[in-house]
Symmetry: C2
Subunit: 484 residues, 2 copies
């Protein structure tokens, strides 16, 4: 395919993809060890390591990296990189007996940290397969941090100034001016917080296996669990509390976490996005607690317990559940549905439209109201005490417009395949926003296997587009991308 397009430097693209696959092949040694430990079949992971690693080595040697990428090569590397990870990452699932479409769905859901699953009875699968399933999310989470901090700003995607501003610590302060260094630091923060979560969960009497797999999927805002009852399987307020806290952390900006940990203790609480993120969660929790208490006849304590967990789980696009919220009354569901369109903070592992975009759109609308009364007033939009440039606002608006269009088309396609209105709407937004479960047929205790083949393809594309901040994929559909 790429050979017909002489103007794109496919050599550098394939070279980088080769490096990525070598890395992925090496990573697959971890679930192989898990399989050895639990006495599971080694064949799925051995084959995966060999196929992925060999493909990576072949590509790296066949295609040489040239000096510099341009934006177009960058887009192609990001988009095809995620696709390649999903395809090669699905090999263990295929060899475990998944149908090809289901294997790729589950793998894409993993690497995009979505958490939508096609597994009918999760507990029947081997521990090494479920370990790999959780681990794909943790690797995906690393990829997203890399994408936000190191790649998107270089590509000028969706408001480069904004993403640059989102890594205020390391870049602005000129401590570590190089992007590669920045990414390394943020990965260390990611690994460091992950280790703390594992320890906390072990102290709450989780097994090591459960603590590691759930940490993988909490920190990535992913939501896969080796249990079909998700976090409800533990029925422990302490474990719920720990996971709630770490979901909240994973949904906030990792560059801010770095600054809070190493530079300025108050960084988090000075940040406009983090304040708005906390406000949205607080209000939604309040409304949902009221709804559960009033309509579901729960006690105030239980209402709050379920509400705060589910609000943070959905806002951060994790998708864990402590209760089958599909059984709630519609007022509770509407709170969750609204949160699905918000998402977490930029620079986090969460999905969705992102809090900062919503906040800036609201400020934009507020300014328009002000200008209706004072037409000649000059009133710049401020974010963290700095003026937001016009091209950032334009990028945000364009992002949301394309996002809503994709959501609408995907919803229409699913409903034409026979899904009901609520399932179509929530399956679309839950995959595009990288959340995981929706309502109806695709509720938290159900699974996506009910979606027909073509519908699964649509949802796989949704997860892919949503994770790569829309533009990275959509830009490849424009004729300009392929012209000299």
């Amino acid at each position: 395919m790429l050979i017909g397009v002489p103007y794109l430097n496919y050599s550098v693209i394939l070279n980088v993809l080769g490096g990525l696959l070598r890395f992925l092949g090496a990573i697959m040694l971890v679930p192989l060890c898990v399989a050895v430990y639990y006495g599971d079949s080694l064949y799925p992971f051995l084959a995966a390591v060999i196929i992925t690693g060999m493909t990576g080595i072949l590509l790296s040697h066949r295609y040489k990296a040239t000096t510099e990428w341009k934006a177009r090569e960058g887009f192609a590397i990001v988009a095809f990189g995620w696709l390649a990870a999903a395809v090669f990452g699905s090999i263990p699932f295929m060899l475990d007996g998944f149908s090809p479409i289901n294997a790729i769905f589950e793998s894409m859901s993993g690497f995009t940290t979505t958490g939508a699953t096609v597994l009918l009875d999760i507990e029947t699968h081997s521990q090494s397969i479920l370990f790999w399933r959780s681990m794909t999310q943790w690797i995906g989470g690393m990829g997203i941090i890399m994408l936000f901090i190191a790649i998107l700003p270089k590509l000028g995607v969706a408001g480069r100034q904004l993403f640059r501003a989102e890594a205020p610590g390391p870049t602005e302060d000129k401590i570590k001016p190089r992007i590669r260094e920045t990414a390394k630091i943020l990965w260390m923060v990611y690994v460091f917080i992950s280790i703390i979560e594992v320890i906390a969960l072990l102290l709450a009497k989780m097994s090591l296996y459960d603590a590691v797999t759930h940490t993988f999927t909490t920190m990535a805002c992913g939501g896969f669990s080796p249990y079909s009852q998700s976090i409800a399987a533990f029925d422990s307020p302490l474990i719920e509390g720990i996971i709630t806290f770490f979901m909240f952390v994973a949904g906030a900006n990792f560059a801010l976490h770095y600054r809070t940990l190493y530079t300025d203790r108050k960084s988090l609480f000075k940040d406009d996005e983090f304040k708005f993120y906390s406000l949205v969660i607080a209000i939604a929790t309040l409304v949902l607690t009221f709804s559960l208490w009033k309509d579901m006849g729960e006690t105030i304590f239980n209402s709050f317990r379920y509400a705060v967990f589910q609000v943070i789980s959905i806002t951060t696009s994790t998708g864990f559940a402590t209760v089958d919220f599909n059984l709630w009354t519609d007022s509770g569901k509407i709170v969750l549905l609204a949160l699905m369109f918000v998402g977490g903070c930029a620079g986090s592992t969460s999905g969705g439209i992102k809090v900062v975009r919503i906040l800036l759109l609201l400020k934009y609308a507020q300014r328009a109201l002000f200008k209706s009364v004072h037409p000649r007033a000059v009133k710049p939009i401020k974010f963290n005490e700095k003026t937001v440039p016009d091209d950032v606002m334009q990028a945000i608006v364009s992002f949301v417009v394309i996002y809503i269009m994709i959501f609408a088309v995907s919803t229409a396609l699913l409903s034409l395949m026979g899904l009901d209105l609520v399932s179509s709407i929530t399956a679309s937004i839950a995959t595009l926003g990288n959340i995981g479960p929706g309502f109806g047929l695709v509720g938290p205790m159900a699974n996506f296997d009910v979606v027909p083949f073509v519908g699964k393809l649509v949802l796989i594309i949704n997860m892919w587009i949503g994770r790569l901040e829309v533009f990275t994929v959509i830009v490849m559909l424009t004729p300009e991308f392929w012209r000299r």
Copy 2:
């Protein structure tokens, strides 16, 4: 209330409202004549004429108009003008036995040309009451044309350049430079097309009463019908065809109609908004025809017949029905739901976000994609071969953001009152978009009486805000509006 706000010139506001009520009182003589003709009780209309007319005369005499309005007085006049029309227009309904909230709901639904009804059994009401109900929509339609062409541009609301550009015939060509003249010409076009529709419906063997009442509500994109089965009551493809055509006309820009009729025959087909409006309707009709044929087992002819009528009825925010679309499968409903967010053309009597806003947002997003590949390229957004200024785009974005916020809050409130998800969503958008019926409890053959008291208040406010292009009402909630 206004006395406490010394900086707002309430004298001019009350003077203009007085003039409006005198006009409304005089208009009420028409249903009084209808009541005489049909031998209905005269008391509701006599009382309404006297109360409305006297209030109008008192206000006009007590408060004097000063030389010039400022923007703030303009906002207050428009917002309170529509409110006053709804309140005084509800007098005949109250005296006919409606509860006050139901009377104001029905009257607001009329003057905002929404068409949502609380009537349980429409046919039990007298012909004069149903005539007045339909007539409120026709008067509301006149008001909207006045608002778009003459008032909003003066207030600088939501992209004054856009609305100015939307009245290209009379204003740009300098034929009739004065706004009052423009409004008069467009009203004549409105009356002229209305008369043609009455004649067409009479030729299709409708009674004069039915022809006039349905013309009132077609031309206003209103959708009230004296029959609870709406247009299905006639079961005539010819009548459906005529109404479909005139809904399509009423959903397009009246300034363009003027130009097409009197200046340039090809004006309509040169207009970007009209072309996109036709395209949206064509695609939606195609998809809906397919859905009805595939899922509902209808013949191709019937599928197309129902689809084209319902697509145009919803897109233009009329809300007539030839079939209970609440019984359709969800793929059909999703097409209609998406159209509810689009609406008709600016400068028409239709509601919704409006086609031109959607079109410009899509062009905006398309430009952003182009700029991802060519970051330094300058590419202005064009509408009808002219560059769209930045402040128009800002106004559009702000409009849509506030619109979606109101939709979300109203949906959440309704669901907290116990309405199900689909009814809450569609009742909100159907009133905010001035469409009329939704799905679920508020379907086309059902009515809004099931909504609890506070919910009706929310929906009344939705209709009011939606009709006045959001800003006109919302701006009064900002502190700046009330400060010197």
